[in-house]
Amino acid sequence: MSTGQEMDAARDGAPTVQTPVRDRVTGEVRQETMIINMGPQHPSTHGVLRLLLELDGETVIRCKPIVGYLHTGIEKNTEYRTWVQGVAYVTRADYLAPFFNELAYCLSVERLLGIEAPPRAQTIRVLLCELNRIASHLVWMATGGMELGAVSVMLYGFRERELILDIFEAVTGLRMNHSFIRPGGVIMDLPTEGPRMIAKLLDDLPARIDDYERLLDDNPIWKERNVGVGVLSAEDALAYGVTGPLLRAAGVPVDLRRDEPYLGYETYEFDVPVSTDADSYARYRLRVTEMRESLKIVEQALDRLLAEPGPVMVEDPKVAWPARLSVGPDGIGNDETYLRHIMEESMESLIHHFKMVTQGVRVPEGEVYTAVESPRGELGYYVVSNNEHRPYRVKIRDPSFVNLQAVPTMVEGGLIADAIAVIASLDPVMGGVDR
């Protein structure tokens, strides 16, 4: 990454110094560069990303991404909460992929505890994560489309995402930041109307995805803005640690669901789309294909859930959340029969409930790194326990944070308008970047 003095000066608010630039075609030396800030308050920077750009006319000569505007100290916070409360913090990191954060964190805690969630809980996790992947890709398509002038795509993307968020709301009680996946399983089984809603989505969504493709695949403006733009070679991608759709669009078929299967992904049938074009258009095609593949997985997971019932949380009372939850007239809450049990019938149960809620589980000493394939790439959690009731260290390896490092390579030498397309095709979520 380039770090000229004048760029540092611009960041500090001092007047910028002009540098001589040699024109690549004519060879003449000019003094006409300009340094501008794009962001952090800019509609096409996906939140609060700031790009320091040095421009020669419309051409980007240098680019420096600046992050940190959304830092909320999630990692530090988890060190002062119980292991279960940690779920509520990490789910807020990459807010477009909350289930993936919960999943990677809980898989880490489970590995430290040496337990595994029951099969039905794993299937529910797969189902929710794949729905989440589609929802996340829909937001990518919607916002990315809007930034390139395809406003209808923005409306369609958010419209369909709403269908998925309705399912999340019915299942978890919340549209985002669900805290639904917990160490040892998930907090409750699907509601009775859940399978029907998901089946309806499986009926409706493929035709909608066809619509997006009809609208965009051969759209001359869409192709003009995306084909050949933001090319990132496989070598560069690997050097910068880039994962997810960007890496697969560069021809490297890395998908942790297939390479290092978790949650029994090896038992599902799905393809990992790969492209070798390595440009924005290839990433668009790849993500649309991934939505279809996710639908395939959702369908298989739903079949399994309908086939056999079972527990959704480990039996061990020293790990499992004690309360039984159910959906009442005012949302999800403690089940009436459970409340009667601890309040009127069993003092021991009340004590156990109190201990589990205030202290929770004690996790044996050790360290683990667990990675899952989030919509943006490898989402890894490095979790250290000191044999206490709370984590000693939680490090979130967020794919957006790492992928952003490749932006200068993709932007420099191109037009400033293409920088927008590049950021859009990267799909960064600043909540995950800044944590």
């Binding site: 640690g241 390479d259 490095y382 260290r393 790492v402």
Partner: protein
Amino acid sequence: MKPPALAERVGEHLPDVWQSRGEVTVVVPRGELIDALVRLRDQPDLAFGFLCSLTATDHPGKDPRFWIVYELRSVEHAHRLRVKVGLAADDPHVPSVTRLFPTANWHERETWDLFGIVFDDHPDLDRILLPDDWEGHPLRKDEELGGVGTRYHGAFIPPVDERTMP
């Protein structure tokens, strides 16, 4: 390579290696870090050419106080390895690995920002998540957290580490 075989293979080069919970960890002295990473990367059957993550942990009162943790992955073989380097409290310096892995750039900046670890020869060791004029390194365990004052009779909500913890 599966963890037991991997631990054995890595052990041929680096002696301080162990396996736990299906993950292989190797500890190397600070002076041998770059050498070790190059060897791990260049052996064709290991091929740890992808740095996933880099961070630190802080253990005040212990020696070493800091552990720098490198999570490596091989794209070819789909196996993983954790490399750790211990640093003394009064000498939190470690060589930067940005020349081997350009992706380490931001990870090292973050670790400097949050833990105050100095990565020697880093091209641009600046704060990344916190404001430039921030003082201190908040993920250190001895960092002061600060409580919250209230308007009620001068009551003060103590910082989270001074409240009664389970």
